[in-house]
């Protein structure tokens, strides 16, 4: 029944049909161009972005945007390698603004109204420009401004009967208050700070750190910086900060204390404004919390600004579509809605001037946003300069990994300083920059 000829004919027919279906099918008329965006979320911004993009796609049926939602660790550790190998997405949401800037595309020539961006993103556009990039290039749009800021568990203060230190309180005042609260209510963490160099440089600048030398190159080992480093070592020794947090990871790995704060175990959590939306969800009505003014040091009372940016990648095969998405995202109505729903501080200066109608009934969030907006205006210029420094992440990583070794007794703080400097020199040398 089945002779060889029949078998061969059948197999040939199968092969031809399969080929026709997969390889030689006629393309559907006007297939939309797919643009892939690698995106991470701190809170609900992934959902908000997807909703906004759905409306963008309806208005622009020739573009389909795929939002690949990944953990923050993927953006930090895998995206750089993907970009180096030319296998990255078309766009990405990144927080290492300067460090990855060599991969960004200048979309200015493709924008309909680039002047709008010059006017309303004047502070942050330079953060995204690569060292060898165009002076007026537009290399991305911030998805939000952030500010490192302390967030306190107000309920714990109330339960302990300890008053919240007022604006202008120093770090020493806060340590005294949080330790008193922790002792009374048996909270395990009087103070928790994210294990991140970005977090500790705000307080360092408050302590008098200058960070840069006269040539604008990193010169971190001054008295102000060392004062803050010694403080952190002391805090880990006397129980103000617990080794359980920073000690649970190694190297320059990030470790937040969101979970511990959400569980009511932390009296004061020095993190940032990007946490407000998340805490609105995770804490809810469990306890009262709010952001408080920046603790002061001898020099000033500052946090470190920051934020993430949506950036176009220069290897994209769809630069025009990417430019259209970016120009749309950076526009005032989109930014206003994005900030209102994500509870982020606005990066668009027109939106900031008009104020954001935040979509929340959470009193904790509203109070915190008010505090943060005020504190942002008082942020030290040096903090902005550091945030805009292309190699800041490399400096942050060197500091946090060596500081952690000192905290764990692997080396003295003096040796840690030597190693920090050596790591910075080595990192810059790998980028072809010689530290003088």
């Amino acid at each position: 029944m089945f002779n060889r000829r029949t078998l061969l004919a059948g197999a040939a027919a199968l092969l031809v049909s399969a080929a026709a279906l997969t390889q030689f099918s006629l393309p559907a008329l006007a297939d939309p161009t797919e643009v892939r965006v690698m995106w991470y979320s701190d809170g609900n911004e992934g959902d908000v972005m997807r909703d906004l993009l759905d409306r963008f796609e309806k208005a622009n049926p020739d573009i389909k945007v795929t939002l690949d939602r990944v953990p923050y660790k993927t953006i930090n550790e895998q995206l750089p390698t993907l970009l180096d190998s030319g296998q990255g997405p078309d766009m990405a949401r990144v927080s290492d603004l300067g460090g990855l800037s060599r991969h960004y595309l200048d979309v200015r020539p493709m924008f309909k109204n680039p002047g709008y961006f010059d006017e309303n993103y004047a502070t942050t556009l330079p953060w995204l420009r690569p060292a060898d990039g165009l002076a007026h290039g537009i290399y991305g749009v911030m998805t939000q401004m952030t500010l490192t800021i302390p967030i306190v568990n107000v309920t714990l203060f109330q339960q302990a009967g300890v008053p919240l230190p007022a604006a202008g309180a120093t770090w020493a005042d806060w340590v005294k208050a949080t330790r008193a609260v922790a002792e009374k209510v048996k909270a395990p963490y009087p103070i928790a700070i994210d294990r991140s160099g970005h977090r500790i440089f705000g307080p360092s600048i408050s302590m008098g750190a200058k960070v840069f030398d006269s040539k604008g190159q990193p010169a971190i080992l001054d008295d102000g910086f060392k004062s803050m480093m010694q403080t952190l070592v002391t805090w880990h020794g006397d129980g103000t900060m617990s080794k359980a947090l920073w000690g649970s990871v190694g190297g320059s790995s990030y470790r937040g204390a969101n979970e511990e704060f959400g569980n009511g175990q932390v009296v004061m959590y020095f993190s940032g404004t990007w946490q407000f939306g998340q805490f609105a969800k995770s804490v809810g009505k469990n306890f009262e919390w709010q952001a408080v003014p920046e603790p002061c040091g001898p020099a000033t009372c500052t946090g470190l600004p920051g934020g993430a940016a949506l950036v176009p990648i220069k290897d994209t095969k769809h630069p025009k579509e990417v430019a259209r998405i970016l120009e749309w995202f950076g526009s005032e109505p989109v930014q206003a809605e994005f900030d209102a729903r994500t509870l982020f501080l606005p990066a668009n200066e027109a939106v900031a001037a008009k104020g954001v109608d935040y979509q929340t009934d959470d009193a904790n969030v509203k109070k915190s946003l008010n505090v943060a907006v005020k504190e942002l205006t008082k942020t030290a210029p040096l903090a902005f300069k550091l945030q805009g420094y292309e190699n800041n992440r490399m400096v942050f990583n060197a500091v946090i990994s060596r500081l952690n070794q000192a905290i764990n007794g692997e080396m003295s703080l003096t040796d840690a300083y030597t190693r920090m400097q050596a790591d910075v020199v080595e990192g810059l040398a790998a980028k072809g920059i010689k530290l003088q």
Binding site: F2, R4, L7, L8, A11, N76, E77, Q78, P80, T81, D84, S85, G86, D96, G99, P188, K243, A244, W246, G247, S248, V249, G250, G251, S252, S253, N391, R393, M394, F396, N397, N404, Q405, I407, N408, G409, E410, M411, D415, R419, A422, E426, G427, A430, K431, G432
Partner: protein
């Protein structure tokens, strides 16, 4: 014809159809390469895969080790000769990591060396004890053999997460400690505790595999030797020293070498359990290579590649040792 017979007939027809369908292309291949070339043709796909995913990356890795900068693409990397190796080996005193230019590399080397010594010795001893017990006449022997092997089947990430949950400050073990009136212990945040727990978790996860190998070795020992010893009234200790150990020695050496190779490559469980912390207390050499190449903001691919070559040399020595042991065992 019952259902089973019909199924068998159907499967046979499918098989025959499949073989008939494959016959023409293989006949055409044989016409091209000849009958002697057919084995090579069958091996070729595997060789291509091996070449593409193993050999080529190894060659590229060697290239990276002799080049510098933080660029990934080979064409953009300038040659630096032996600078990466020189940097890694630049130490005033190899026993004092703080005297080394690349102190993190040497910390990882020291950590790995200590880990290997302790982990391998405890692994081999515990596996041998387990194998001896499981080789005996115990109740539910089959069940216990399976139980010892279960952790081997788990993903390293799952193993690490389970033990992280047990060992964390508010974890199960501390709940037991507190329940007995003690105070919480920072099992994973104290450098010494964390180091020894990584050894424990690694042994727990992999012991079953080596127990199985040793069990097979024990079962290969002729039973009449033990019978003869029993008839002679030989003590159990003497039987163990004079019969079991000598005849088990080739298997023991294989287990030793395999566990040595594996322990040098320790990464996944430790990375999830402690992240290499606290500080660098549990950072071993593979994690150092990974972080240097990929996790740090400045990707020092050349330095990481050079470190990986040094590790490869150590592993090659161990592998040659194992081959020599096997060769002598066969003889």
């Amino acid at each position: 014809m019952n259902l089973g017979d019909r199924l068998a007939a159907l499967l046979e027809r499918v098989y025959i159809l499949l073989m008939k369908a494959l016959e023409p292309p293989f006949a055409a291949l044989q016409r091209v390469v000849g009958i002697k070339g057919m084995p090579y043709a069958f091996v070729l796909p595997n060789v291509v895969l091996f070449g593409l995913f193993i050999f080529v990356p190894v060659v590229l890795n060697v290239w990276y080790a002799f080049t510098g900068s933080n660029h990934l693409l080979i064409g953009e990397r300038p040659g630096v000769g032996l600078d990466n190796f020189a940097s890694l080996l630049d130490c005033k005193n190899y026993l004092d990591v703080n005297s080394c230019a690349q102190d993190r590399f040497w910390r990882a080397v020291h950590n790995t060396a200590l880990f290997v010594v302790l982990q391998v010795s405890s692994m081999v001893v515990l596996s041998l004890i387990a194998a001896l017990i499981l080789n005996g006449r115990i109740v539910a022997r089959g069940f216990f053999r399976a139980v010892f092997f279960f952790p081997v089947l788990l993903s390293p990430v799952v193993v690490a997460l389970i033990w992280k949950w047990i060992l964390q400050t508010d974890g199960l073990l501390n709940a037991v400690v507190v329940g007995f009136g003690g105070e919480k212990v920072a099992f994973l945040h104290d450098a010494s505790w964390a180091f020894y727990w990584t050894i424990f978790v690694s042994v727990w996860a992999h012991m079953g595999f080596y127990t199985l190998i040793l069990l097979a070795g024990l079962q290969a020992i002729p039973a009449d030797l033990y019978e003869a010893a029993e008839m002679d009234g030989t003590s159990r200790t003497r039987v163990f020293r004079r019969i079991t150990i000598p005849l088990l020695m080739p298997t023991l050496l294989v287990v030793l070498i395999l566990s040595l190779i594996r322990s040098v490559q320790a990464f996944d469980e430790v990375f999830v359990l402690t992240g290499g912390g606290p500080g660098t207390a549990t950072q071993y050499i593979v994690q150092y290579i990974y972080e240097t190449a990929f996790a740090n903001q400045v990707h020092l691919y050349g330095l990481a590649a050079a470190a990986s070559i040094l590790v490869a040399v150590v592993l090659m020595v161990l592998t040659l040792l194992q081959m020599r042991v096997n060769y002598h065992g066969d003889k």
